[in-house]
């Protein structure tokens, strides 16, 4: 087989796995949805089942994909073609991890939705949690329903972690330090855990989430409070991309970007 055929074969093999995976996910979703509709069974059964499936789903990926990929690569690629592996590895890794993340988020949002539609499981949980923690009911309720809100915006030079500009609703913390620390955390995580050129995209802590959008020479970090959902994230993604578009033309037009220009852009972004 020529190199091209080998590659085609490999691509085919990989794509097939992907399709299988996808139909498996869809199947799982269908099953879960069906279960959700059976109200009686639902209360006691759905939780462990979902957890089980998620765990199995996560566990299955490396198990199912790993050997298949390795076998395919072994057969299809001669030793001299290591570059192909180098090229494919990060792409596959990225695809899978993104896919899983999105699917899980979709799944959990769907479950959330079903739950609140059917009966007040959340209400029960809240009261239970409230008993345990001694937090007031309304406070918890508020926390659960707080809409996502953009709190801070950082544009940071990659590598050096030098802050290019930032915008904040309530400037309480040192922005230079945050930019440096974020970059250090990013570097640490990317160095320690990621294979290939994957990049850190989210940092989460109790009521805040830092969403990171990576570009070639800089990255944009958004600090968001409240409860994030997929719709808001999508909206953010769009806004950031169009921001980056304008930002690029600013930086390429005048060599010394005046900060007021960027600040204006940022203001525009926040007022959206």
């Amino acid at each position: 087989m020529g190199q091209k055929e080998q590659l085609d074969k490999l691509r085919e093999l990989l794509l097939e796995e992907d399709r299988e995976l996808h139909s498996k996910v869809t199947e799982n979703l269908d099953q879960i949805t069906a279960l959700l509709h059976e109200r009686e069974k639902f209360e006691t059964k759905v939780d462990p089942i979902i957890e089980d499936r998620l765990r199995k789903f996560e566990k299955d990926i490396p198990q199912k994909m790993g050997p298949a990929i390795t076998a395919a690569l072994k057969v299809q690629i001669a030793d001299s073609q290591n570059e192909v592996v180098d090229l494919l590895y990060p792409i596959i890794g990225k695809l899978i991890s993104k896919f899983i993340r999105i699917e899980i988020q979709r799944l959990s949002e769907k479950i959330d939705q079903q739950l609140s539609n059917m009966f007040s499981w959340k209400g029960f949980l809240r009261r239970f949690k409230n008993k345990l923690e001694g937090t007031s009911e309304s406070e918890l309720l508020l926390r659960d329903t707080a809409p996502p809100l953009l709190e801070e915006f950082f544009i940071v030079e990659k590598g050096s972690g030098i802050l290019i500009d930032s915008y904040s609703r309530n400037q309480t913390i040192d922005q230079d330090m945050i930019a440096g620390m974020l970059t250090a955390i990013k570097a640490f995580v990317e160095d320690a855990f990621s294979k290939g050129n994957q990049e850190l995209e989210v940092i989460e802590y109790e009521s805040y989430k830092i969403q990171i959008f990576n570009f070639q020479t800089y990255y944009i970090a958004l600090v968001i409070s409240g409860v994030m959902n997929a719709k808001f994230l999508l909206h953010l993604q769009d806004s950031v991309l169009s921001f980056a578009e304008k930002f690029k033309s600013y930086t390429s037009n005048n060599e010394t970007t005046s900060n007021t220009d960027i600040t204006l852009l940022l203001k525009e972004f926040f007022n959206e």
């Binding site: 590598g159 972690g161 250090a184 570097a187």
Partner: protein, 162 residues
Amino acid sequence: MNKQSKKVLLVGHFNVGKTSLIKKFVKNSFSEDYITTIGVTIEKKEIIIKGEHMTFIIWDIAGEVTIKKTPKSYLLGLHGLIYVFDLARESTWQNMQEQVDDIKEMFPVAPFKIIGNKKDLLKPKEVEKILELLPVKCDFTSSAKTGENVERIFEELGLAML
């Protein structure tokens, strides 16, 4: 932006006083306790050099016997480097020639200072003797404990980064 921000890294073996030098410079404090650095800590200090504001973003990283062992991603985009060794501990400067060569090869244009720290632990005569034995000339001897030369090191580096 009128202010200049510079990423500066301190490298060298474990326990030579990198964190202490930074603490002294940024917070003017010193502690005898040794708490080894894990990962990275970021410190910031603004100074004025020749009428210009300069913000040091200092990356305090864990010590490594060789620069090659330092995670590459920590070194990205740096503007200045300080190599620290312990005057009182020979093992921290024995392999210095190789380290300095590696650093110069990796960062041919970044200003770079070599510091012999913990001067206070030795008598002046002993310091002199060690300086003669060093494989590479060091730029400053310092003490994070007494504060000797600490500000000067960063000022000189800042000047070179202007």
